[in-house]
């Protein structure tokens, strides 16, 4: 048994998960991350680069990677794909004009080999805005029903109020745990 094998086993023992949070710019990725972690969300700047948070939730150690969504940063997304257990795709439900862009980016992500085993959670964010589309409408727009390659789930949420963030992450953890830790 090599050292790498031992390390990998240790990672499994610790019930560690790596979540990658992506989406178009202004979708609310950083706000979701900070709100989930109980931090102040009023001073968040557009992400120039990425944020990593490690937090404990339900006995799991979560490594959450939040990578900036600006067009100029999207080509760097692939640098973060390796050994991702869960992909969190964040959508600005009030940004109707870029839904098509949003769908295209998501579909190209799902064709990525290195994300093949990852569970997909779609957050239809900004449900607190009066003009927001419902999670059903977002699901249609993203063509989620046609996804056969990944386990997926869509949850309507608001990063500002914190609504449904927990239930979304809980679903994600359950799904990943069922896949990754069943051997225990």
């Amino acid at each position: 048994m090599g050292l790498l094998t031992i390390l990998k086993k240790m990672k499994h023992k610790e019930r560690e998960m790596r979540l990658l949070m992506l989406g178009l710019d202004n979708a609310g990725k950083t706000t979701i991350l900070k709100k989930f972690n109980g931090e102040d969300i009023s001073t968040i700047s557009p992400t120039l680069g990425f944020n990593i948070k490690t937090l404990e939730h339900r006995g799991f150690k979560l490594n959450i990677w939040d990578v900036g969504g600006q067009k100029s940063l999207r080509s760097y997304w692939r640098n973060y794909f390796e050994s991702t257990d869960g992909l969190v795709w964040v959508v600005d439900s009030a940004d109707r004009l870029r839904l098509d862009d949003c769908k295209k980016e998501l579909s190209s992500l799902l064709q990525e080999e290195r994300l093949a085993g990852a569970t997909l959670l779609v957050f239809a964010n900004k449900q607190d805005l009066p003009g927001a589309l419902s999670k059903e409408a977002i699901g249609e727009a993203m063509g989620l029903d046609d996804i056969k390659t990944h386990h997926w789930c869509i949850i309507g949420c608001s990063a500002v109020t914190g609504e449904n963030l927990l239930s979304g992450v809980d679903w994600l953890l359950d799904d990943i745990a069922a896949r990754v830790f069943t051997a225990d």
Binding site: T5, K8, K9, H12, D25, N26, S42, T43, I44, S45, P46, L48, Q70, K71, S72, L73, A94, D95, R96, L97, R98, L99, D100, K103, K104, L106, S107, S108, E113, A116, G117, K126, D128, L129, P130, G131, A132, L133, S134, E136, A137, I138, E140, A141, M142, G143, D146, K148, T149, V160, R179, V180, T182, A183
Partner: protein, 351 residues
């Protein structure tokens, strides 16, 4: 043997009178525990993944892969229901195989892992191709919505353009125009106007998300506090807006003047535009040229109240701190934006 000794010592500490009896009972328990552990170990070893050697993995993997390939090859488009069933079964099996691979990842060599991943990928591709071929109406991947769903839900016009194809080509330009019209009719804001003076009152805005699009040579006044503001495809406009409680998103804006307080400003594809800004976190630009910044100076009678509604901090204005996503070099300033010198700033505004 060690165990027995331990137990005896433990017992002595307990100072119990049944010195002989208890170790016996404990020994029995210990034996039962060992048996149980042995049984569990055996059970685990009989489990597929517990056989942690790559030879076993390769065999099992290839066997399953062959089974799935068989499923895919027998599937034909003649009977839709049957084809759907077969393909779904194949999909489920592929997922199981993926899980098997994930479980085995710990003890596989890098090469074997890559090989397995490659063949899984191939399986998925051929599965998708078969799905296209056998069930042509319900292709895999991301298509535009079907007719039925269009009737149910007309709130997602952005993807109604019907031309979107499997590999994500853009829909025809003309259909976008039509689509956007439907978007605008449902939204608070203005669109498709030339040479107009456009005003929204605090009552109309009232924490709505506001959209301004396709405006040319217009003067726009937004009194009140929107929750977000989107500005898209405008040129030659003067847009003055009350405090925006979260972000302002600007895209394709040219030769315009904007004045707005907000939490974040995100500017894209914008040229020759002046921004009179109050921003409490940061402003960013991307793919912009000739954007210049000055502090927010517009005022109207209820501005103070709207600031309170928006929750923005009036004392914190980071209008000089602009991040250019196309200029990541430290030390040298971005050539894409400048600050407007004091004598060139606009101080009077027509309401």
């Amino acid at each position: 043997m060690d165990i027995q000794v331990d137990i005896c010592e433990g017992n002595r500490d307990d100072n119990s009178s049944n010195v002989v009896k208890i170790p016996e009972r404990l020994l029995q328990r210990e034996q039962a525990r060992l048996d149980d552990a042995e049984r569990r170990k055996e059970a685990k070893e009989s489990h597929s993944v517990a056989n942690e050697n790559s030879e076993f993995f390769t065999k099992a993997f290839n066997r399953d892969r062959a089974a799935i390939e068989e499923l895919i090859s027998i599937c034909s488009g003649a009977d839709r229901a049957l084809a759907t069933q077969t393909l779904d079964e194949a999909t489920a099996k592929t997922q199981q195989l993926q899980k098997f691979l994930n479980d085995s990842m710990m003890f596989l060599a890098q090469y074997e892992l890559r090989q397995a991943q490659a063949s899984l990928q191939k399986l998925q591709t051929s599965l998708a191709e078969k799905r296209d071929e056998a069930l042509p109406k319900k292709k895999f991947a991301f298509r535009s919505r079907t007719k039925a769903t269009e009737q149910v839900c007309d709130t997602v016009p952005a993807t109604q353009s019907g031309e979107t194809v499997i590999d994500g080509h853009t829909p025809a330009e003309s259909s976008i125009g039509k689509v956007e019209e439907t978007v605008y009719s449902k939204q608070c804001g203005f669109s498709n106007m030339d040479d107009m003076v456009l005003t929204k009152t605090a009552g109309e805005i009232n924490k709505n998300d506001v959209l301004l699009s396709h405006l040319t040579n217009c003067k726009v006044r937004l009194f009140g506090s929107p929750s977000t503001l989107h500005i898209k495809n405008v040129s030659g406009c003067e847009i003055l807006c009350g405090p925006v409680s979260s972000s302002v998103f600007v895209d394709h804006c040219s030769n315009s003047t904007l004045a707005l307080p907000c939490q974040q400003l995100r500017t894209h594809n914008t040229t020759s535009t002046q921004v009179y800004l109050h921003v409490t976190s940061r402003a960013i630009i991307e793919d912009c040229q000739g954007v210049s910044f000055a502090p927010f100076t517009w005022s109207y009678p209820t501005l103070d109240e709207d600031f309170v509604v928006s929750g923005l901090d009036r004392a914190r204005n980071n209008w000089t701190q602009v991040d250019d996503f196309n200029w990541l070099a430290l030390g040298t300033p971005s050539p894409n934006w400048t600050l407007i010198s004091e004598e060139d700033r606009k101080t009077t505004w027509e309401i």
